[in-house]
Symmetry: C2
Subunit: 202 residues, 2 copies
């Protein structure tokens, strides 16, 4: 049995990362990584499904013990990716999906270099602006700021292994699947087992 | 426009490399690399289509000028992969397919490190033996020798970027296509151009 791959989806906001991940998870052939957080559960959120809800003390202890692949503070709350839960699934041959902001993605690559980092790009800044406008949650000034920030963030593409332009959703989802399959075909540590199978035949 | 990829198909004999390549070429989205040879054209073979037929002097001169990505002597004739013809197509954004024996594949990787080396494996040595027997061109002793050699050759998998087990032909062909697509999605030298497109929008 081949080891699973840790697939990290990241990129500027408004590029549709979340939608791509929801589509990918429909097929049941990969597992979503569940984050640990110190923020209070919102109505309907279940511990161990949406997040692992922990106290600030538990969180700090997990960080101390190297138990997180990455972590960050966002608006006064802590969020992190539990190492053990991810590695256990990978060892079972399951691919694990992680949607995360860009600093987190780089942290994950450092703590787990086999992670496959995929950068999701908008078809153009114009389209990105339209999508953000369509959400109706931000002022024109905020949208301008976000678009400028997106351009700056696009330069961080070199931290990533692959990039996908999310023009049509189904194409982007298919491209992620393509990358996952190709990663499984790569010659690497898993190839030893393959070679052994032929040897045992003799 | 993105640069093309040089896709090198290799592996032990009897694994169906040739059939995979013929299937791949049906789609017209990649070009076959045409070899240069000093052997005489056989009936029906066309210069520039099946091979570039050259004299031993011309061949030696091309080698001398670094004009071949790899070359080898087989049964007293010389064969090689012309560098200029391949690079020209890659620059035009065409993917180029090269089917070649294993020493040649390694030479190509050395002279063109961006080449994507794909190793084709049999589902098992048993199946390989059956396929070789089915050809009806070799004695049982020759088939034994070939099978033993195949096992030795399988250990050279680590010279390759990817490996594909050719169990069902259409799956193997689809896996090669998957690898080619994933290679185009990789972040690399082509990403500069991508980043520039967003910058120019501003």
């Amino acid at each position: 049995m081949q080891k699973g791959r840790l697939i990290v989806i990241s990129g500027p906001s408004g590029t549709g990362k979340g939608t791509i991940c929801r589509e990918l998870l429909k097929s049941k052939d990969l597992d979503l990584s569940i984050s640990m957080t110190t923020r209070a559960p919102r109505s309907g959120e279940i511990d161990g499904v949406h997040y692992y809800f922990v106290s600030r003390e538990e969180f700090a202890e997990t960080v101390e013990n190297g138990g997180l692949l990455e972590h960050a503070e966002i608006y006064g709350n802590f969020y992190g990716t539990p190492r053990a839960a991810v590695l256990e699934r990978l060892d079972k041959g399951r691919d694990v999906l992680l949607e995360i902001e860009m600093d987190g993605a780089v942290q994950v690559k450092k703590s787990y270099p086999d992670a496959v980092l995929i950068f999701i790009l908008p078809p153009s800044l114009e389209v990105l602006k339209k999508r953000l406008t369509g959400r109706g949650t931000e002022t024109p000034e905020q949208i301008e700021t976000r678009t400028s920030r997106a351009l700056a963030e696009i330069h961080r593409i070199y931290d990533y292994d692959y990039s996908i332009i999310n023009d049509r959703l189904e194409d982007a989802v298919s491209d992620v699947r393509t990358i996952i399959r190709a990663e499984h075909l790569k010659v690497g540590s898993g190839s030893e087992q393959l070679v052994r199978q032929y040897e045992e035949e003799k």
